[in-house]
């Protein structure tokens, strides 16, 4: 089989398939983990927007936890947990709802009263009403994780080809230089570029901005996310930002997050950075005096229903898709790879795979 793209999704699929004994070739145009994988936060988070989203994020998170002991130091695995911060009573209701939702699905969570919240995160602004701690959420450094996954594949039965795929055929893929990589199965895991190779895929790039600071070890201990996040970032409006701060193992703080549709330029937009950081400083006032080193942008591959596309492409016996992971690709990479292999081998999946099948987001399928 040929896998197009060595981002975290392609790398995870390559590992899963190579470990199962398949012969794998991965084609990468730039370098391993250099696209959206490198631009994101690396937050391994359980989400509850929908049952399928929950199922895949939780399943994948468990797979990451199982892999933890094998990960090299540069993957910067940190079991810091997430704290969903509630600023008012309405958000506190959301804390209780999430607590019940996760509890019913056996994900441990803990409701923090203000005292417990400030004990956990003393630098948060006064006046917050509480929070939900999700202790099993994690943080990793995704480019090195992608490299690790691919190396595991390479140690078994996988070759990495540097090159750009020009087209997908019945018998494999054609590269930019005209050469053909023959394969019985092709997996399009090219992220936001997947559409170029598989027309008809309903997917839009959603731009994000991030800022990283110098090192302030211990200032923040958990990934901190506002519950307003649910109201803003997860809607499909043109532009939104939310308080989302992540501690890195280096002591640096990674500050997000923003989402924009309909923007193609990769350049940093001051107005988005300003809004995003102003929001972050509202929650962590001391952040304002800290030194910001770098700002950057990235593009998430977003589907209309915010679920990834995993499985056989309608009308193509040999072509599979593994893309459309939006902002959750790092989290769901391992689960995606497992579900892909389940389909290739006709195995029973651990979670229902129907919600992720490509048919729902293929224009040809609707026609």
């Amino acid at each position: 089989m040929v896998i197009i793209g060595a981002g975290i999704i392609g790398a995870a699929c390559a590992r899963e398939c190579a470990l199962a004994g398949l012969r794998v070739a991965v084609v990468e145009a730039d370098f391993v983990g250099g696209g959206a994988t490198a631009a994101g936060m690396g937050h391994i988070v359980v989400m509850d927007d929908s049952e399928p989203q929950f199922a895949l994020t939780r399943y994948s998170q468990q797979l990451w936890r199982e892999l933890a002991s094998e990960l090299p130091a540069d993957v910067e695995y940190m079991a810091c947990g997430t704290i969903w911060v509630a600023a008012d009573e309405q958000e506190m209701q959301e804390v209780r709802r999430k607590h019940d939702f996760y509890g019913a699905r056996r994900v441990p969570t803990e409701i923090l009263d203000p005292r417990a919240l400030y004990e956990a995160e003393p630098h948060l602004r006064p006046g917050l009403v509480g929070a939900l701690l999700v202790p099993e959420d994690l943080v990793i450094y995704a480019p090195c994780a992608a490299r690790f996954l691919l190396r595991q594949a390479q140690a078994r039965n996988c070759d990495l080809h540097m090159g750009t795929v020009k087209g997908i055929r019945e018998d494999g893929v054609v590269l930019q230089d005209g050469s053909v990589l023959q394969a019985g199965t092709v997996v399009n895991a090219a992220g936001t570029w997947a559409k170029e190779l598989t027309p008809g895929l309903e997917m839009r790039p959603r731009k994000g901005h991030l800022v990283i600071t110098d090192r302030y070890p211990g200032f923040v201990r958990h990934q901190l996310v506002e519950l307003g996040y649910l109201k803003s970032a997860h809607t499909l409006t043109a532009e939104s930002f939310a308080f989302n701060v992540q501690p890195r193992i280096t002591g640096q703080l990674l500050i997000g997050s923003s989402r924009q549709f309909g923007v193609e330029e990769t350049s940093v937009d001051n107005h988005i950075i300003a809004g995003m950081l102003a929001r972050a400083c509202q929650y962590l006032p001391e952040l304002s005096r800290m030194s910001a080193i770098r700002c950057w942008t990235g593009f998430r591959a977003a589907t209309p229903d915010k679920l990834p596309v995993i499985g056989k492409c309608p009308g193509h016996e040999h072509l599979y898709l593994a893309t459309g992971h939006e902002g959750l690709g790092i989290t769901t990479s391992l689960g995606t790879a497992r579900l892909l292999l389940d389909q290739l081998l006709n195995r029973a999946p651990a979670i229902p795979l129907e919600p992720y099948l490509p048919g729902r987001v293929m224009e040809t399928a609707h026609a």
Binding site: D214, R215, Y216, T250, R289, S291
Partner: protein, 82 residues
């Protein structure tokens, strides 16, 4: 009699000529290092002009300040080696 500024470096009182940068003051006070690198090496100033960030120290509680770009002020509290 030169015009002196009094300040502290890691709690020790030092007096340096007015107009000295904090980096020069630390070196004058007898320490050749200003900080520890991320792998624990001792480091001193390199470029002297605000480019290299090797001379970062904490000043009055604010971390990561380039000491080669800042003039000593009366009562300033400098923390090095952090």
């Amino acid at each position: 009699m030169p015009d002196l500024v009094q300040m502290t470096i890691n709690g020790v009182v030092v007096r340096v000529p007015r107009g000295s940068t904090v980096a020069a003051a630390v070196l004058l006070a007898g320490s050749s290092n200003l900080r520890r690198s991320v792998s624990g090496e001792l480091r001193g100033p390199l470029c002297g002009m605000g480019i290299c960030f090797e001379c970062r120290v904490a000043i009055d509680g604010r971390q990561h300040v380039r000491s080669c770009q800042l003039l000593c002020r009366e009562g300033m509290e400098v923390t090095i080696g952090v």
